[in-house]
């Protein structure tokens, strides 16, 4: 484990844009975990403090209810990142498990699973998610994450499957089979590390995709508008006419900026993953 972090540091140091991405992600994570300990939203608004321009007390101004935008951004970080992370974990786990098993085993398992994948790939993902979210109407992060993962695993499953198929016939896989190793070893220890870099990058991009989709759900108002997160902020800003007046400009732009910066940070950081998961580049 110590070696892993030493390698990670070495790779990040060599690639400054990946380092920038990593630093930004760490900042976001710290804010998500510790932010709510330091700032609080008041339970009812101060109409008199609405639409204030930035000041020492409210660095990014206030919204129509008089809440500080900076405070809302900080408090809204955790729900967004939580759901994004959970959704990425679900899609990656399901996609990798199905891809490896079907690719390695082949036969009827493969045929059945791939028809399901085809269906999941042909259904337009976002509209389906919107419909399900509107029907279920839950703000539970696990339920939201599950909804967001409903089709996302299929593309990964297909890609991992084709890699597993090409790896299946390589000599080292044959040697593992001939040694009589059980399936869990062959799939988990022999196959998985070889699709590692691809899966890791997909995982990071899965987080970004889930965050976009989640924000979209709140923006459209199909997910319950309870609590505070960046999606709800954008939704409220829009409904309060941010497109027509300049008063709530900051209220609209700040959550958008927060999202864009986080997404860019993930994309930058993902560049380092390929080197990190390739033992040839990792060990000198």
């Amino acid at each position: 484990m110590r070696e892993f972090f030493r390698d990670l540091w070495r790779i990040l140091w060599a690639d400054k844009s990946a380092l920038t991405g990593a630093v930004l992600i760490v900042c976001y994570v710290l804010v998500a975990i510790f932010g709510p300990l330091f700032v609080h939203l008041s339970s009812f608004g101060h109409q008199s403090a609405a639409y204030l321009t930035p000041s020492w007390h409210h660095p990014l101004g206030t919204d129509s209810l008089g809440q500080g935008i900076a405070t809302e951004l900080i408090v809204g970080t955790r729900p967004i990142m939580e759901v994004g992370l959970l959704a990425a974990i679900i899609t990656t786990f399901v996609g990798v498990a199905i891809g490896l098993l079907t690719g390695y085993l082949g036969g009827w398992v493969d045929i059945v699973a791939m028809r399901i994948v085809d269906i999941a790939l042909t259904i337009p993902g976002l509209p389906l998610i919107i419909v399900i979210a509107a029907v279920i109407h839950s703000s539970n992060p696990f339920v939201l994450a599950a909804i967001l993962s409903v089709t996302g695993w299929a593309g990964l499953a297909r890609a991992v499957r084709s890699q597993a198929i090409s790896l299946r016939t390589i000599d080292f896989m044959a040697a593992a089979r001939i040694q009589g190793l059980p399936l869990r070893n062959i799939v988990g220890r022999q196959l998985l590390p070889n699709v590692g870099p691809y899966v890791a990058i997909h995982f990071l991009l899965g987080i970004t995709g889930a965050i976009y989709a989640e924000v979209g759900l709140f923006l459209l108002g199909v997910a319950p508008l309870s609590g505070t997160n960046w999606g709800i902020m954008i939704n409220l800003a829009m409904s309060q006419g941010a497109l027509y007046t300049t008063k709530s400009m900051l209220y609209l732009l700040c959550p958008m900026a927060a999202i864009v910066i986080l997404q860019v940070a993930f994309v930058f950081f993902s560049r380092a993953l390929d080197s990190l998961f390739n033992p040839r580049l990792r060990v000198q």
Binding site: I170, F172, A174, A175, I178, Q179, R189, N194, P279
Partner: protein, 330 residues
């Protein structure tokens, strides 16, 4: 009872132009503690035969028997025992080791899985195995990745993996053809040393008669041409007194590390015998054979015993010259 019996095995691969035959009614047996070398040019079916013996491919027709039991019918505990008893050493040491696993993780899991040592004794056992195959027997070495090793070292790790399960049969498919010349003999010697220490049989697959001769001095050789077994016999007998024209052609083609001899042999042009297609009717080798007769065009010669254990699928085995002929008597 033989260790392995290949019983009337035929096999073909489907292609867009119809099925392509790979093995045609092959019969072989390998005794306990013996060496059987399979020789032929690329595409002759020798690798497919090896894959069948280790259970990676099932024959379309016929049976492979290990310890008198059909390999295709093995299940559960019996299958696990077969997996342990039959191991493989591949040709390409770059493809045969998983690039993502350390040496420890390459060797360890199977030893534990087959219950050969207890988990806490594993590292000691691995270090002992490394010493046995002539590698640096240290903990540091166990933590290395394949890309940190040379081709020769990788092949030793692959051999360690095969031998760690104490198998009774090892299929070695061209184990030295991708190694440096100075490493080849050492690898062959290593494989032979295991045979001396243990009850171990080898199915040795190669296109290089020089390597085959070195490896299978006391064993037997079979020569295959496009899936058909054309000659079989004791190793030295087949090499010194080939009785099938294809065997002779293979022997004649081998480059010799002696420029004087090479110049004397140069007049024997070989090209007209390297490219004829296998024939569907009659002797499969007729389109390349220098001694072909009308009889060869009409009926297929059976594999016939000539002398003790030496068999040839040729109507005119006596026309094939001895190998002394190759030493420059032209």
């Amino acid at each position: 009872m033989s260790l392995v019996e290949v019983d009337n095995v035929s096999h073909w691969y489907p292609t867009t132009a119809g099925d392509r035959p790979v093995l045609d009614q092959v019969n072989l047996s390998l005794e306990h503690d013996d060496i059987l070398a399979v020789v032929g040019e690329s595409g002759c079916g020798k690798t497919t035969l090896g894959r069948m013996v280790v259970g990676e491919d099932a024959p379309a027709q016929g049976r492979i028997r290990f310890d008198d039991r059909d390999v295709a019918g093995l299940r559960g505990k019996d299958f696990k025992a077969y997996r342990r008893a039959v191991q493989v050493v591949h040709q390409d040491p770059y493809a045969s080791l998983n690039p993502g696993l350390t040496i420890e993780d390459t060797l360890g899991p199977a030893i534990v899985h087959h219950g050969l040592v207890r988990r806490r004794e594993l590292q000691g056992e691995l270090i002992r195995i490394l010493a046995e195959v002539g590698l640096d027997a240290t903990r540091a070495f166990l933590r290395r990745y394949p890309h940190q090793l040379s081709g020769g070292q990788r092949q030793r790790v692959a051999i360690a993996r095969a031998m760690s399960l104490r198998p009774r049969l090892v299929v070695a498919d061209e184990p030295t053809s991708m190694l440096d010349v100075s490493m080849r003999l050492a690898i062959l010697d290593l494989l032979l040393s295991f045979r001396e220490q243990r009850q171990l049989a080898y199915l040795f697959i190669s296109h290089d008669f020089g390597v085959v001769r070195y490896f299978s001095q006391a064993g037997r050789i079979v020569v295959m041409f496009y899936g058909v077994l054309v000659e079989e016999g004791p190793a030295e007998q087949v090499i010194q007194h080939p009785r099938h024209p294809y065997t002779y052609l293979l022997l004649q083609a081998i480059p010799v590390p002696d420029p004087g001899l090479a110049r004397r042999r140069r007049r024997a042009a070989i090209e007209e015998h390297t490219e004829g297609a296998p024939a569907a009717v009659g002797c499969i080798f007729q389109n390349r054979c220098p001694f072909v007769e009308p009889q060869c065009r009409s009926s297929r010669p059976p594999l016939t015993e000539l002398t003790d254990g030496h068999r040839s699928a040729c109507f005119f085995p006596d026309r094939v010259p001895d190998v002394d002929h190759l030493l420059g008597a032209y």
